[in-house]
Amino acid sequence: MDGPAIEISKLRFGWKSGECLLAIDGFAVGRGERVFLHGPSGSGKSSLLGLVGGVLMPQAGEIRVLGQAWGELPASRRDRFRGDHIGFLFQQFNLLPYLGLIDNVLLPVRYSKLRRQRCGTAPEAEARRLLAALGLAGKALLSRPVAELSVGQQQRAAAARALLGRPELVVADEPTSALDEESRDAFLSLLMQQCGESGATLLFVSHERRLAAGFDRTVSLSQMQAAEAGTVQS
C-alpha cells in the first residue's frame, strides 16, 4: 500500500437524490501529515469523514486511503481495511458502557488481526502504556466503570483506542468539543504527541479555528468544495 494517506478525486456525494452535499474534485493528505479540517456544523464534515472511512460510498468519484480505493473493495473487505488501518475518535460517548476501560481500549484488537500483531505479544500491556502516556493510570482509575469517568478521561481513553496497534490514519471528529477550555489544549497536545510517535496521519475536524495552531495544514470544507457541484443520482 503506497500513496498518500488520503486521496480524493472528483467526488460527488448527496444523501438524497438530486441534492449534492459534497463536491470535491481534488484533495490529498500525505503520510504523517496533521490536517485541521474546518467547517460549520451541517456543512457535511461528518459525511466526509464517513466517506474517508469507507462507511459511506460516493455517488461519483473516488476516495483512496493509503493507496486503496474504497470502491474497489467489496463491503466485507472494506470493514476489514477500516479496522486494520484507521482509528476513529468521536465527539463524545466513545466508550461501550458495558465493557471495562481496558476492554474498551482493546476493542480494535478484537476485529483486526493486523493491529493485534502490531501490539506485540501483549496487547493489554500496550493498551496500558498508551493510557499512561495519555495521563490515565493507576489501578483505581482503570478499574472504575466507564460511565463514572469524566468526559476528559473518556476522550483520552478513546484516543488510546484510536491509536492502539498503530493504525496509519487517525480520524478525529470534533473530539474536543465536549471538553472544557483547559482540557482542550491538554488533550490536543497529547493527541498530537502520540500521533507523532506512531507516525500516524491525523485528520482532525472541528468548528473551532483556535485549535488549528500546531497542525501542518488547515483546510476549510468550503475551500475544498468544487465550484460546479452538479447533481447526484442516488
Binding site: L49, F88, F90, Y98
Partner: protein, 398 residues
Amino acid sequence: MKGTLILALLSLWNRRGTALLTACSIALSVALLWGVLQVRDGARSGFAATVSGVDLIVGPRTGPLNLLLYSIFQAGEPTSSVSRASFELVARHPDVAWALPLSLGDSHRGFRVLGTTPDYFLHYRHGRRQVLLFAEGRAFAAHGELVIGATVARVLGYQPGTEAVLAHGLGEGSFAEHEETFRVVGVLAPTGTPLDRLVMADLDDLAHLHGAEQSTSLTAFLVGMKERPALLTMQRALNDYRGEALTAIIPGVALSDLWRLVGVADRAMLALSFCVLLAGLVGMTSTLLAALSERRRELAILRSVGARPLNLLGLLMLEAGALSLVGALMGLLTGRLLVAAFAAELEARLGILLEPALLDSTSAAILCGVTAAGLLAGLLPGLAAYRRSLADGLSMRT
C-alpha cells in the same frame, strides 16, 4: 464468535433489568408449555393403559362411554345395576374363559371401594397385558380383608395390617358408618392408572355389610373369552338378551372413542401453549428492536473499530438467543418446582401421576427449540442493526 458471545452477554448484563423481564416472559410461556405436555403425557399414559385383555364390559342398559367411565375409571356413577343371575349365565358359558363381577358404591375416606372376587387379581390386566403386582401382601381370601392401590396406601399411610372402616355411599365420609372394620392384607404396586386409587374387597363381604348374605346385583362385570373372535357374537347376544336389559361394550372401541375426544381437547391446549410461547418471543423481539435506537451509538462505535455488519447481526442474534436460553432454563426449572409442589395434590384429585425426570428428551427439545427460535427472532433486530449501521455511517450527532 466467542468474542461476540461475550459482548452479547455483557451487553445484556448492562441492561439486566429489561433483560430479566424479557427472560421472565419467556420463562412463563415455557413453563406453561412444559406443564401442558407433562399433564398430557401423564393423563395419556395412565388412560390407555388402564385396561388390557378384557374382551367385554357388561353393564345395565346405558351409554357405552358412561359404562366405560364408571366401571374402569371410577368416574361418574352407575344409576342401575346388572343381576347376579345374568353374570352367572355368562360366566358359565362354554366360550367364556373368565368373568369378573364388579360392585361399586361404597367409599373409604374419599377413595372408591370395589367389590369383586379374588379372581380379579388373576385376570385383570393393564398396559400391555401386564398383570397386577403386589408391592406388599396378597389378595383378599377370607372375610373382612382389603387390598388397596398404591396411591391409597401412600395418601392414607396404610400397610398390611391396618384396619379400616368402610362408609356407605360415595361421599368423603358418611354419617351411617358400617359396624365392621376391615383389615388391609395387600397393597398393589403402582400402575399409573385409576387402579392406584381403589380399595378392593370381596363382593359378598360388601353385600353382607348391606344386610344381604350374598350380592344379587352388580354394577358391571368384565368378560374374557376363550377365543377373541367369539366376542362379537357374545356382544351381540348380550345386547339382544331378552332376560335383562344389558349393554356389552368392547373396551378397545370405547377407549378409542374417548381417546379421540380427549385428543381434540389436548391438541387445543397444546396449540394454545405454543401461541403463548410465540407471544413471549414476539415480545422479546419487539423489546430488542425498541432498544436499538438507544444503541445506535454503541453500534457505530463497534463499526468504527472494524466490526462488520455481520458481527452486529451476530451480536443481536446471540443476545436474543441468550435471553431465550436463560428464559427457557428458568421456565423448565419453574415448571419442575411447581410440579414438585403440586404433584401429590394433582394425583390425589385428578388421578394424574406426574413424575418428571430431571432431564428428559422433552425438556431438551424445548430448550433447543426455544433457543433456536430466539436466535431466529434475533434476526429481525439483527437485520435492523445491520441496515442502520450502514445508513448511519459514522454520524454521531445524536
